[in-house]
Point group: C2
Chain length 505, copies 2
């Protein structure tokens, strides 16, 4: 992550706070909500509306920070459980280090501190007492964890050491904040490992990436591509960074889980040494990995539509809502069937929406907005035929299903929704890639809301020109395709690699 | 929690940092570790040594903050899961609110801000930019959550609202820090509820307390007594507070989960109103509940002994370690049996300690220090008799058990350890209570390392005299015993209640 944005004056920054009016108006007119009125192409506006109407999050008076409401936070907890299960198999242990980092610690790795210091929040006072040394609110925890690593690691027997944290971090960015994607405080895991050799360290990268990918692909339904970043885009203080990339229907790229290989850079700055099997002192090799609440944003953004949220069933808190259609004289009978059905569908966390004084139509809208994967409607006429109506959130396909077949049908449908969302995200991704052999071609590709594959050289200045010329597109990831005699589309000298370039959030 | 301690100069505060030498020396001489050398009566020293030697936590250069190492943090995660399961049944939803609280929010409830402001850590700068308004690092989240509650709650249909957070909070206390018990940053859950009526609000208290008690008694093995605090000791801004109290063998009281009933105090300050079923506007009734990493400290402190940590099996990460006794010519045979046994004992997370170059005696010591509930020793002589040696951590009782009986025996033993620890904590608790009918008697009770039941009046000044006269004992909880004609042991006027008074951490 590059930290070279200009620092603007705090007073110019309204950011997320400015959208509070939207939050208020939505809360005051909940009954009028019918899908998302903003166009998905206008991503910021569409996503902000989705966030509020689907009850995922809300604004606060803390500029750039949001409340994660239960509908999003409890999905985050599911992600934590899934990742923890996979990490456990890799020998990862969970721990917790202090929120605060003494300034002298932060300053030890030069590139790292330069990268992060423009956006560090500082504590200088407690109560009325000025602190002896000011403390950084962690933007990431390398600089507080590694002094401990230095103390704990003595021998090759202590390696690999794989300590993870689930915590909150603060980066006081001055770019326009976008809920989930760019908030000044966010939640994540940060896994910091030490291996005895470079080879082992890089091999570990693949294992951890596979663990994340299992969750993001098979549970969150997201097709993405892991790729190495250019040096300009790598982690401050690392040797190289790799991230997974997702593409939305509007051609904008969303970045997911990063893997940063730090080589021995931090080990040297923080004195992380061990005696190898031959009794020789060596510096450790280090990696860092993360999944953050940004991935919630990616999942919401990729799958959802103009009717509201769509959530893959495996990540949904409830997969089925049963909406009874009630008339005075058949009410008891209908509710009885609902209650029986809810028991049968317990494994999908089904529930009955029994709220009174709210119309059936309003309920349908609400559960569509909130992304309930399957809605079952039960009315007296259906019961006469011993059937119910089942509606899928992804396709809105409506089917009459015999009551005795409902469980099987729901199971099959949820499976189809889950797989369908992944397939759709993959199709969109692949349809957004295009070749571009010149800056002019790249500009056209980007105007057409796609991501261009271009030959480029390693000079940072070329990446800066690319960004300026394309009004904000950047080098996203290096492709595996090898360069032969291609020229850099900016300076015309020999290209070093092919990169995908496009606009991102 | 009373927040009336004097604020001392930061430069006088070494606190936890000062003990770093201990941490270093322990890490450098791991092989010398044989139980805890400090006396359990000297609690601070004993507990600090336990913490380091059992690898539960470590010091950092951030004064008053610790690293929660995996051996303690992963137990904290177990507590989270257990509490979440119980909360779910009560309709509690998990959420996440910003770490930072704008100063104007913090200032809305007068008593609350007076209670917390002496220990608030302030952020005034991000990067080089001075913020428009300074931000408090949350000491507790009422003041950031309730403005949102005010916006979200409209009608009686929105109630009860029960939002919980699992997060980190910072209270820059200037008292001597004790790992787990009093650290400047700690982890907790904070559950903040709004009910429609006072009656419902107070009834909710019992439900949540029962949920916590189920975890602390039946899993953490701790006998404690819930009791109401005097007004002097209640939560700043609340109507009354209740906490659970534990007593150690040295007569010191440890405080556990709090329940704060806030009445309508915060609702009025933060404008949390709803329309009741008759269409009339009402203020909500509020409660707050928490379990914190302090409870890890309570569990470690109550159960452990001079040999090191003791953990109730239900909270242990692994309940059984198998230590093979290896000789060159029988090694393969012994390890084969170990591997078979570990599979059989999978449900107890058993594992084999196969480390080489480390003596069996060292391993025994290490697992005793780290509180492994059961150790199984397997050597060639045992195998000849088709048996193994099973040693319990709580009693050190050593038994020869036929291999075919091991699983059953382990299951029974773990159950006995679990129940035994609870019974022991209860016996100690009850043996530490004593009646005291005068200040002189109370002084003697406290000299004898017990907790005295005394008649007291409601004047805060009497509590202050009590504290001064007893060198630091305080009114801990109000007993159910009703006063008749008893006089306050301090001022001699009519007593208002019986309270338990003693020293606490």
């Amino acid at each position: 992550m590059v930290k070279k944005e200009e620092v603007k004056q705090e007073k110019d920054q309204k950011g997320i706070t400015a959208d509070k009016e939207l939050s208020k108006s939505v809360h005051q007119s909940a009954k009028d909500q019918k899908g998302i009125t903003a166009d998905k192409d206008d991503f910021s506006e569409w996503f902000a509306e989705l966030m509020i109407k689907a009850d995922l999050a809300d604004y606060t008076d803390v500029s750039g920070c949001i409340v994660f409401k239960p509908s999003s936070y409890e999905i985050w907890q599911k992600i934590q459980v899934l990742v923890d299960e996979r990490f456990k198999k890799l020998g990862v242990r969970n721990s917790y280090f202090p929120l605060f980092i003494p300034e002298k610690y932060l300053n030890k790795e030069k590139e790292h501190v330069e990268g992060f210091s423009p956006e560090v929040a500082w504590v200088e006072k407690a109560g009325d007492t000025k602190l002896g040394e000011r403390l950084a609110v962690r933007p990431t925890s390398e600089t507080i964890m590694y002094p401990s690593y230095s103390k704990w690691i003595r021998s090759w027997r202590d390696l690999p050491l794989r300590y993870n944290q689930w915590n909150n971090v603060v980066r006081w960015e001055f770019k326009h904040p976008v809920p989930f994607f760019r908030t000044r405080e966010f939640l994540w895991n940060e896994l910091h490992t030490v291996c005895a050799t470079e080879k082992e360290s890089i091999a570990e990268g693949k294992m951890v990436i596979d663990a994340y990918n299992d969750v993001t692909e098979n549970y969150m339904g997201l097709y993405g591509v892991y790729g190495r970043k250019t040096d300009r885009e790598k982690f401050a203080g690392g040797v190289f960074s790799e991230k997974v990339h997702y593409i939305m229907a509007n051609g904008k790229v969303l970045e997911g889980c990063p893997f940063h290989h730090d080589g021995q850079n931090f080990a040297k700055a923080y004195d992380i040494k061990f005696l190898d099997e031959n009794g020789k002192e060596q510096y450790g090799w280090q990696n860092t990995y993360a999944i953050s609440t940004r991935m919630l944003g990616v999942m919401f953004a990729i799958h959802s539509d103009e009717k509201g949220l769509i959530i893959p069933p495996k990540m949904a808190l409830n997969s089925v809502v049963i909406v009874p259609i009630l008339f005075e004289n058949t009410k008891d009978k209908v509710l009885k069937v609902c209650d029986e059905l809810v028991k049968e569908l317990k494994s999908f966390n089904a529930f009955v929406d029994k709220r009174e004084n709210i119309s059936v139509g309003f309920k349908f809208n609400e559960w569509e907005l909130k992304g309930m994967p399957i809605r079952i409607e039960i009315g007296p006429k259906d019961l006469e035929k011993n059937q119910v109506v089942v509606v899928r959130r992804d396709t809105f396909k409506k089917e009459f299903v015999k009551i005795s077949d409902v469980k099987k049908f729901v199971e099959k449908s949820l499976d189809e929704i889950q797989r369908g969302l992944f397939v759709k995200s993959k199709e969109i991704f692949l349809s957004k890639l295009a070749d571009a052999n010149s800056l002019e071609e790249l500009k056209k590709v980007i105007e057409n809301k796609k991501v261009g594959l271009v030959p480029l050289c390693k000079q940072e200045s070329c990446e800066e020109v690319l960004k300026a010329e394309t009004k904000g597109a950047k080098a996203l990831w290096i492709d595996n395709k090898k360069v032969k005699s291609e020229k850099c589309i900016i300076c015309g000298k020999k290209a070093d690699y092919f990169v995908y370039a496009g606009k991102s959030y």
